[in-house]
Amino acid sequence: MDKIIALAFTAFIAENILLSQFLGICPFLGVSKKRSSALGMGFAVLFVMLISSMVTWVLYKYVLETLSIEYMRTIVFIIVIASLVQMVETFIKKVSPGLYKALGIYLPLITTNCAVLGVAILNISKEHNFGEMVIYTTFIGLGFIFVMFIFSMLREKIDKAPVPKAFQGIPIALVVAAILAIIFSRFGGII
């Protein structure tokens, strides 16, 4: 039990995917201008990340390893993720048009989100078993949503602040992210 809590905590805060592993920075800077879009993107990423990690984990353990063609990992994973995103999009469109409207624009963007492929590969290289993989991926996704949400609230305030001309836009966002990263990195000491 201790191990699982430590794993979840590490994934959620101490090794936060955005602030200490630098995966998924594009949506972090791109769609964090408004709270609602940040949350929408966050949940879409969590959803796709969880499904694709499960599928790629099973594929890796039972197909690639048994055929000993582990070097095909990158190609297989990216194809799986790209087709999964397509399938999830079609599925959500059919089952819940409301959710589809809310996530709509973010779903296709997720294919090129390095967080999804990154977590799938991290789960393999950290040699997680199935249970650990599910917990790790879930908390990584929750950490992503958490930081996106905080960051979008900060950016809503920054928009109204008098920022020096050279810092407007991305530079000030990066400086704010640095301050957030200082806070998050200190949580590592708890474990």
């Binding site: 602030l19 200490s20 592993q21 630098f22 995966l23 998924g24 920075i25 594009c26 800077l29 070097y71 095909m72 990992r73 990158t74 190609i75 994973f77 990216i78 194809i79 790209a82 294919t111 090129t112 989100n113 390095c114 492929l117 990154g118 590969i121 991290l122 290289s125 020096p164 001309k165 050279a166 810092f167 407007q168 991305i170 530079p171 000030i172 966002a173 990066l174 400086v175 992210a177 640095a178 990263a181 200082i182 990195s185």
Partner: protein
């Protein structure tokens, strides 16, 4: 556009990192030392030049282009992923230290927006020679940009600059002279965001000054 323009536009005018702000994830993660940045640059150079070449070869053949067009993004991704796998295996075999320190960011070259972006925006509608030149320019522009960030970070954070392996420049005497320690924060994740933000702001400031000067010049002349 001439061939020279195709090559040179990636360096400054359309620099993928500082102007278009593409490929942020690797440029924040691997800039802890100049050696890592150069290693990443070599990987991106190989993948970008060859993917531009292959994709423009596919798309400049009319029959093939017609066949590929409806599924072009998956085709691009498979081409890029194959090249990335070659880079990964090569680094694993010959540059093992670099392979370990770049870690997950080697396979992640697949989802680097610069490569897919150039394939879609340039290579798919231009001749193979131009596409290769564009790839060379963009890759060198990217490498130059991450080299600048990593020199900034490594100097402030560790007081030295590692060029390759044991070849490094020790600059700790500057810190001794000032009577202070290197600021370790800069080689930690925090420093990545901070340095990138500051450098980007500096570049924007220079760009703004230039634009102002240009505007003034026009006024004086007019």
């Amino acid at each position: 556009m001439t061939k020279k323009e195709n090559l040179l536009k990636g360096f400054v005018k359309e620099n993928p990192l500082f102007v278009s702000v593409l490929g942020m994830c690797p440029s924040l993660a691997v800039t802890t030392s100049l050696e890592n940045a150069i290693g990443m640059g070599i990987g991106v150079f190989f993948v970008l030049v060859l993917s531009n070449l292959i994709i423009s070869l596919i798309m400049s053949n009319e029959k093939l282009a017609e066949l590929v067009k409806p599924v072009r993004i998956p085709v691009y991704i498979v081409v890029i992923a194959t090249l990335v796998t070659i880079v990964e295996m090569f680094m694993h075999a010959f540059l093992y230290d670099l392979y370990l320190s770049l870690g997950v960011f080697i396979p992640l070259i697949v989802v680097n927006c610069i490569i897919l972006g150039r394939a879609e925006a340039f290579a798919s509608s231009n001749k193979p020679v131009d596409s290769v030149l564009d790839g060379v320019g963009m890759a060198l522009g990217f490498t130059g940009a991450i080299a600048i960030i990593s020199i900034f970070r490594e100097f402030l954070g560790a007081g030295s600059i590692t060029i390759w392996g044991s070849l490094s420049i020790n600059l700790s005497f500057i810190f001794d002279f000032l009577g202070m320690e290197p600021i370790a924060m800069f080689v930690q994740p925090v420093g990545a965001f901070l340095s990138f933000g500051l450098i980007l702001a500096g570049i924007t400031a220079i760009g703004n000054k230039r634009a102002e000067k240009l505007a003034k010049g026009v006024k004086a002349n007019g």
